[in-house]
């Protein structure tokens, strides 16, 4: 029941967006953060066959069914996270980069991230002065159950609050910032471990960028009623 085929006619030299009819699962295995349960992941394969040609392209991704929500808790003033409806006490670690000279490799990411899980942490915060981390980083966070708080590339020290005060309006090219942010979201958005996008480190991005990020990243209205009983 988890195999679906749809017919589609795509005009010559056209780019279209297509949404499959939603696929129903009864009591699927859920993805849980480290220490709360298993990190169940499903292989999702999407392929397109063209009449008269055969298989034209294919794509696959490991996907976990989970619901992550967070809000500022009035009692504590802190951000309270829930996963699949269960409040979670965040035990997090700061992440700058795996290596200052970007010596990045799957093996290195696996070792670094398993180390965090072995230390019984359940969140990694990717600092805004570092990188938008790579799919390999997120893959192992999916595997080992590390939630990810991913900041964009704004820091207080460099953007408007440092000594000397500089770049109060962030980078020179705001359109380029948003193009990079949108492309990064598309690169990372299917990872179960991705828990929170944050504008920057110790600084709110310039007003236009912050507004655009909030608009782009708010939950689609269709999903507001999700998790209704």
């Amino acid at each position: 029941e988890h195999l679906q085929t749809q017919k589609l006619l795509i005009p010559a030299r056209a780019c279209v967006q297509y949404t499959f009819p939603q696929i129903f699962f009864y009591k699927p295995n859920l993805w849980w953060p480290n220490g709360m349960g298993k990190q169940s992941l499903y292989n999702i394969n999407i392929s397109v066959d063209v009449k008269g040609y055969g298989e034209s392209d294919l794509w696959s991704h490991l996907f976990g069914f989970r619901k992550i929500e967070s809000h500022i808790d009035k009692a504590t003033g802190g951000r309270l996270f829930k996963v699949n409806g269960q409040p979670i006490f965040i035990r997090g670690g700061n992440w700058i980069v795996s290596d200052g000279l970007l010596r990045l490799s799957k093996k290195r990411y696996k070792t670094d991230i398993k180390f965090h899980a072995d230390m019984n942490l359940n969140m990694i915060r990717c600092w805004g002065g570092g990188l938008a981390e790579r799919p390999e980083f997120y893959h192992y966070c999916d595997i080992y159950g590390l939630l990810v708080w991913q900041e964009f590339w704004i820091t207080g020290d460099v953007d408007g609050r440092g000594v000397p005060v500089s770049n109060p309006d962030g980078p020179l090219d705001h359109d380029l910032f948003m193009l990079c942010a949108r492309d990064t979201v598309k690169l990372l958005r299917n990872h179960s471990s991705l828990a929170l996008w944050v504008g920057g480190n110790e600084q709110v991005p310039p007003e236009d960028i912050n507004k655009a990020l909030k608009d782009d990243l708010k939950l689609h209205p269709f999903f507001y009623n999700s998790n209704g009983i």
């Binding site: 040609y53 298989e55 570092g130 492309d183």
Partner: protein, 269 residues
């Protein structure tokens, strides 16, 4: 050619741009580098000019003992900073070859998942600009510029960030903050416990690949789950972009399959 992605992560050469008198067109047609002979050296991509494991240049320079490894002692102090050397010094050529023979209606994309900070790509003499920005992917449809014999020559000239900045004598968070003017990582002028990165991590810092498709290409699928009745009733929503690159309308069958790997290699479909 088989449908799917192939990483280009071996057989790369690198050279400082100021030491190469040839153009990208010449490098990828009449005068390709013969091998790791000066000014060319072995390099592996992805990586940055200075650092990277699987890297292009400074790692290679370190390997070839041209400069000391910046990770030990105060060796980083002995590597000239881009503020003193100028941007050209860390503007590098990367060169490789790859084999790919397409059949009739197949297409080939050349993909860069991360370039810091901008680049010019030459493939078999054809030039394409990769615009600025460290955190953006580039995907070039190179179908029409492939060699009929399947042997292709690729050269990439990578330029550093526009505002690499200058490290004040007393260091400080993010140096003189100039790097913040660009859309790139900000720690590279130095931070808390991080020494300044001399090339500001210029380079092909993430994966390079080629991907073969038929007439229709799948682009950036988006997977979302919605959960009801206390997580008993769950739906998977999948949206994808599709591009038909042929001159004819394409009658497609779109398939989505969800499998769960259970213990012992048993699959639940």
């Amino acid at each position: 050619a088989e449908i799917g992605k192939t990483k280009l992560d071996s057989g790369w050469l690198a050279a400082r741009s100021t030491e190469v008198q040839l153009t990208g067109t010449q490098l990828t047609t009449t005068h390709p580098p013969a091998g790791p002979t000066a000014p060319w050296m072995d390099a592996v991509v992805p990586g940055t000019v200075i650092g990277g494991l699987i890297d292009s240049v400074l790692a290679t320079l370190v390997k070839n003992k041209v400069v000391p490894d910046p990770f030990y002692g105060l060796e980083n102090e002995t590597i000239i900073d881009i503020a003193d050397s100028g941007r050209e010094y860390y503007t590098f050529w990367f060169f490789t070859t790859f084999h790919c023979k397409l059949s009739g209606t197949q297409h080939l994309d050349l993909n860069f998942r991360g370039i810091n900070y901008s680049a010019e790509v030459y493939l078999n003499g054809h030039k394409t600009i990769l615009p600025k920005g460290m955190f953006r992917r580039h995907s070039l449809n190179v179908t029409d510029t492939l060699h009929p014999d399947g042997q292709n020559l690729l050269a990439v000239l990578v330029h550093p960030p526009d505002h690499p900045g200058t490290i004040p004598p007393d260091g400080g968070q993010g140096g003189d903050h100039e790097i913040g003017k660009d859309v790139t990582t900000q720690y590279v002028e130095g931070w808390d416990w991080i020494a300044p990165i001399r090339d500001r991590n210029t380079g092909i810092w993430d994966e390079v690949s080629i991907s073969v498709t038929g007439p229709v290409k799948i682009i950036d699928p988006h997977l979302v789950s919605s959960l009801f009745d206390n997580y008993k009733r769950v739906y998977l929503h999948a949206t994808t972009e599709l591009e038909n690159r042929s001159a004819l309308a394409a009658e497609c069958s779109l398939n989505i399959q969800v499998t769960m790997e259970l213990e012992g290699g048993v699959c639940l479909v």
